[in-house]
C-alpha cells in the first residue's frame, strides 16, 4: 500500500479520529483556561488523573458513564486547586501548573499502586465499544470513520460545538473573552474576575480529564504508568496552533491524529530502512514546529499569565 492508498482508506481516517479524541478534549480544555487568562500546565497530570480515576471508578462498579463523571470531577478538583493558586493568590502560573502535574500524577500513581498491587499484567475493564447507529454507521466511507466511533469520541465532537457556541453566542462567552483580554473591563462592569477565571479553569480541567479517561476507557482498557506520554504538552502546543479557536482546535487535533496514524502505517511499510524512532519522534517534532510558526499570533489572550488583584489599580 502506498501513501495515497493509506490516505484514502477508511481504517486510516477512522484511526485518525480515534487518536485525535483525547487531544480534542485536551485542546478544548486548555483553550478555555487560556482564553480566560490562565495557563494550565497541570494538563499532563490531569490527563493521568482522569485516566486513573475514570478507570478506577469503572473497576469499582460505577459503570462507564459513572467513570466519565468521576474523571471530570477529578479534573475539576485539580483545576480548582490550580485556580485558587493562580487567580486570587496570583502565584506563578508556570510553577503552579507544573506543581499540579507532579501532584496529580503522583497521587494517581500512588493510589493505583496502593489499591492494586503489582501483577504481571494490569487488570482490565470493559471499555466503550464502537457505536452501531442504524443507517448512519452503514454509510460507505463516512460510516466507519465518523459513526462507528465510541461514545466518548462523539462527546468530544459535541464538546467542540458546545465550546464554540458558548464563546460566540452567549453572554458568558463574551465575559470569558473579556476577562482574558482585560480583567479590569469585566470588573468595571460588576462581574467577578475571580469567579469567571476559576470557573473557566475548572471547566477546562474537567475536559482535560476526559482526555485522559478516553485512554483507559476507550482506546485501551487498562491503566499503564506512563501512558499519557506527553499528550498534555502536545495539547498546549496545539492550542497556540489553533489560535484559541475551537474549530481550528478540532482541525489541529485531527491533523495530528492523522499524522500519528500515518506514521504507524508507514512504519510497517518502510520497515528497516528508516529507524522506527523517527516515526515515534515525529509527533513531538511536529508540535514544536506548529508552536514556532504560530507563536506570534494576534489572537493571543492579552491578559494571559498576568495575575489580577481586586482593589489594586
Amino acid at each position: 500500500m502506498d501513501i495515497l492508498q493509506i490516505l484514502l482508506s477508511e481504517s486510516f481516517w477512522s484511526a485518525s479520529i480515534r487518536i485525535a479524541t483525547p487531544l480534542i478534549f485536551g485542546v478544548l480544555g486548555a483553550l478555555i483556561c487560556e482564553k480566560s487568562g490562565v495557563l494550565n500546565l497541570g494538563i499532563e497530570g490531569i490527563f493521568v488523573a482522569g485516566a486513573m480515576v475514570g478507570w478506577m471508578a469503572v473497576w469499582l462498579g460505577a459503570g462507564l458513564w459513572g467513570g466519565v463523571l468521576a474523571a471530570a470531577l477529578a479534573g475539576a478538583f485539580f483545576g480548582f486547586l490550580h485556580g485558587i493558586l493562580t487567580v486570587p493568590l496570583g502565584l506563578s502560573q508556570h510553577v503552579s501548573g507544573l506543581g499540579i502535574t507532579l501532584f496529580a500524577t503522583s497521587v494517581s500513581y500512588f493510589s493505583y499502586r496502593t489499591a492494586l498491587p503489582t501483577v504481571s499484567s494490569p487488570p482490565r475493564i470493559t471499555p466503550f465499544r464502537p457505536l452501531d447507529i442504524p443507517i448512519l454507521s452503514d454509510l460507505p466511507f463516512i460510516g466507519p470513520i465518523l459513526f462507528q466511533q465510541t461514545a466518548l469520541t462523539f462527546l468530544a465532537l459535541f464538546c467542540v460545538a458546545v465550546v464554540w457556541y458558548i464563546f460566540n453566542k452567549t453572554a458568558l462567552g463574551v465575559a470569558l473573552k473579556a476577562v482574558g483580554d482585560n480583567p479590569n473591563s469585566v470588573d468595571a462592569q460588576g462581574l467577578s474576575v475571580y469567579s469567571l477565571r476559576i470557573g473557566a479553569v475548572m471547566a477546562g480541567s474537567a475536559l482535560m480529564a476526559l482526555g485522559g479517561a478516553f485512554l483507559t476507557m476507550s482506546a485501551f482498557d487498562a491503566f499503564f504508568f506512563g501512558m499519557v506520554n506527553g499528550r498534555g504538552w502536545i495539547c498546549i502546543a496545539l492550542v497556540i496552533f489553533a489560535s484559541w479557536r475551537p474549530g481550528k482546535a478540532l482541525l489541529g487535533a485531527v491533523l495530528f491524529g492523522a499524522f500519528d496514524a500515518l506514521q504507524v502505517r508507514l512504519q510497517t511499510e518502510v520497515g528497516a530502512s528508516v529507524p522506527s524512532q523517527v516515526f515515534l519522534a515525529a509527533p513531538y517534532v511536529l508540535s514544536i514546529f506548529a508552536l514556532v510558526i504560530a507563536a506570534r499570533s494576534a489572537d493571543y489572550p492579552r491578559a494571559l499569565l498576568t495575575p489580577w488583584f481586586k482593589g489594586q489599580r
Binding site: 468595571a188 460588576g190 489599580r313
Partner: protein, 505 residues
C-alpha cells in the same frame, strides 16, 4: 440652582499600607450638577471615586444615594455591581475595555445575565444607536475596540455608562488624552446631558477646564478636603492656593542661544503596526542648549520617536546622528555610551527593576564602569557609597539605598531616574512624559533639573501630553499627529490644538 442632593459621601478614609490616600473626605453632588473634583496628582481624587464605584472598600465612612423620591439610601460599599445598580457609572482614566471585542460587546458586558442562552445582541445594538443619536457621542460599533482611536474608545466608555441608565456619571481625567478641541466637544455633550438631568463628577488637575466647565468645585489636598466653591465665585489664584497650599516655586525659562546640533534625524523611517506607531521619513534636529517640545495627544507617534532615541527601536532607513557622528547600531547601550540620557514614559516597566535595590537601580546603566566593577565582580562598597551620595544630592527619599526600588513613591522613583541620568552629564536628554503622575512639588523639581541641564548645554527632547508644560519649558515646539511631525509656528493654544488633531491649515 441645583437644589436636590443626589449623592452624599461622608467621612471616607482609605489607607494603603502606610500611605493615607484619603482621610475623612466629604463630598456632595446635586441633580443636574457638574461637579469638578480638583487636586494635584496624588491628592486622592481617583481613590475617592474608586471607593464610590466600589473598586476599593473604604476603611471608614459611608455613601448615600437618593432615589427617585429623594429618599437617601446607603450604598453597599466595595462592590461595583451595587454602584451600577444605584445608577452610578464611571469612566476610568485607564480604559476598561476588552480590545478583542467590539463596542457592542463591551457595552453589553455585565448588562446581561451570564446564562447559556443566546444573547440579545440585535436589541442591544438598537438601544445603543438610540443613545448615540441622543447624546451626540458616536463610535464605530462593529470594529474590535483595539482598532479604535483613543477618542473613540473614550466615547465607548461613556456609552457603556449611558447604556446602564446612569444617573451619576464620574469621569476620571477625561481630557488627558484629547486635543483641546475634542475636550471642548466632550464638555458640550456633558453639559447637554446635565441639562437633561444627569449629574456629573469629573476629576481633573487642570485649573483651566475646571473653571470653564463646572458648576461647583471640590478641592482635595493630600487626601483631605481643602475647600469647596461655586465656580462662578472662584478665581484661578484662589483655587490654586487651595490645591497646593503653599506657593510652588515656578521656574522660568530664560532665553538663551543654542549651540551646535546634538541630534539629527535624516529621513528616518520606522515601521510600526499602525501609522501612528511609525516614523515616515522624519527629519529632525535638536540643538545643544535647547528644549525641543513634542506636543500631541499620546499615541500619535511619540512612542516611535522615543523608541529610536532611547535605542529600543532600530530604524529601517535613514540616519541618526549624534554630534554629527552617525549611529551604526541603534541599541540602548550605544545610546548610553554616546551620552544620551533617557527618562522613560513608563517608570515601572522601563525605568526600574522593582525588586532590585535603589543602589542597584542607580548603577544599572553603567555596569562596565571601572568604578562599579573590577574584573567582572561588583564593587559593592563603591556602589553603596555612590548610591548614598546620589540619593542625598537628588533628594531620593525612601527606606534607604539597599531597599527595593518598588517601595519608593512615584515621585521618588522619578528622582532616582533623574539622578541616574543627570549624574552622567548627558549631552542629549529624552524626557518622555517626565511629570506624569507627579505632584506639583515633584513636577517642579523635574522642570528645574531640565532647565538646569539646558543651561549647561544639553539638548533636550521633551515629550508631554500636557500642553501647558510644553509651552512653559520648550524653546521650540513640534506637534505630532498620526505619525507626522509639523513645526509649530505659533504658541497659541487653539492653533496648537488644531495641529494636535491634524486639522491645521
Amino acid at each position: 440652582m441645583h437644589p436636590d442632593k443626589i449623592l452624599a459621601l461622608k467621612g471616607l478614609s482609605k489607607t494603603f499600607g502606610t500611605i493615607a490616600a484619603n482621610c475623612d473626605v466629604d463630598l456632595d453632588l446635586h441633580r443636574g450638577e457638574i461637579l469638578a473634583l480638583l487636586g494635584e496628582n496624588g491628592a486622592g481624587k481617583t481613590t475617592l471615586m474608586n471607593m464610590l464605584f466600589g473598586h476599593y472598600m473604604p476603611d471608614a465612612g459611608q455613601i448615600e444615594v437618593a432615589d427617585a423620591n429623594q429618599r437617601f439610601l446607603p450604598l453597599t460599599l466595595g462592590h461595583p455591581q451595587a454602584a451600577i445598580a444605584a445608577g452610578i457609572g464611571m469612566v476610568h482614566q485607564h480604559f476598561t475595555l476588552a480590545e478583542n471585542l467590539d463596542a457592542v460587546d463591551n457595552i453589553m458586558l455585565g448588562a446581561e445575565r451570564l446564562t447559556l442562552l443566546p444573547r440579545k445582541r440585535v436589541a442591544a445594538e438598537k438601544k445603543i444607536r438610540a443613545i448615540m443619536a441622543e447624546s451626540g457621542l458616536t463610535a464605530p460599533l462593529d470594529v474590535a475596540v483595539g482598532k479604535l482611536t483613543v477618542g473613540e474608545r473614550q466615547r465607548v466608555e461613556i456609552l457603556k455608562a449611558l447604556y446602564r441608565d446612569v444617573k451619576i456619571l464620574v469621569l476620571d481625567e477625561p481630557t488627558a488624552v484629547l486635543t483641546p478641541q475634542e475636550a471642548d466637544t466632550l464638555f458640550e455633550n456633558i453639559r447637554a446631558m446635565a441639562q437633561n438631568g444627569l449629574s456629573v463628577i469629573f476629576i481633573s488637575h487642570k485649573l483651566r477646564e475646571v473653571l470653564a466647565f463646572s458648576h461647583r468645585i471640590t478641592v482635595l489636598r493630600h487626601g483631605k478636603n481643602a475647600g469647596e466653591i461655586k465656580t462662578d465665585q472662584a478665581d484661578e489664584q484662589q483655587i490654586a492656593r487651595l490645591m497646593v497650599g503653599a506657593e510652588t516655586p515656578s521656574h522660568t525659562r530664560e532665553t538663551q542661544a543654542n549651540g551646535p546640533a546634538i541630534l539629527r534625524f535624516k529621513g528616518v523611517s520606522v515601521q510600526g503596526r499602525a501609522r501612528r506607531d511609525s516614523l515616515q521619513n522624519v527629519d529632525l534636529t535638536v540643538f545643544s542648549g535647547e528644549i525641543l517640545g513634542i506636543a500631541g495627544v499620546s499615541g500619535n507617534g511619540q512612542t516611535a520617536l522615543a523608541g529610536v532615541i532611547s535605542g529600543m527601536l532600530s530604524v529601517e532607513s535613514g540616519e541618526v546622528l549624534i554630534e554629527d557622528q552617525p549611529l551604526l547600531d541603534i541599541t540602548p547601550a550605544a545610546m548610553i555610551s554616546r551620552g544620551v540620557g533617557r527618562i522613560p514614559e513608563d517608570r515601572h516597566r522601563d525605568g526600574i527593576v522593582g525588586s532590585m535595590s535603589v543602589a542597584e537601580n542607580m548603577v544599572i546603566e553603567q555596569l562596565d564602569d571601572p568604578t562599579i566593577q573590577q574584573n567582572g565582580l561588583l564593587r559593592r562598597d563603591a556602589i553603596r557609597d555612590y548610591a548614598e551620595t546620589l540619593s542625598s544630592e537628588y533628594d531620593v527619599r525612601g527606606p534607604g539605598a539597599q531597599a527595593s526600588a518598588r517601595l519608593l513613591s512615584g515621585g521618588n522613583i522619578q528622582k532616582l531616574i533623574l539622578a541616574r541620568v543627570f549624574d552622567r552629564s548627558p549631552k542629549l536628554i529624552l524626557a518622555n512624559q517626565p511629570t506624569r503622575g507627579l505632584d506639583m512639588g515633584a513636577a517642579s523639581e523635574v522642570a528645574r533639573r531640565l532647565l538646569e541641564a539646558r543651561g549647561r548645554g544639553a539638548g533636550i527632547v521633551l515629550i508631554s501630553e500636557d500642553l501647558d508644560e510644553i509651552l512653559k519649558l520648550s524653546d521650540r515646539i513640534l506637534v505630532v499627529h498620526d505619525g507626522a511631525f509639523s513645526t509649530a509656528k505659533t504658541r497659541d493654544r487653539a492653533q496648537l490644538g488644531l495641529m494636535m488633531a491634524g486639522q491645521a491649515a
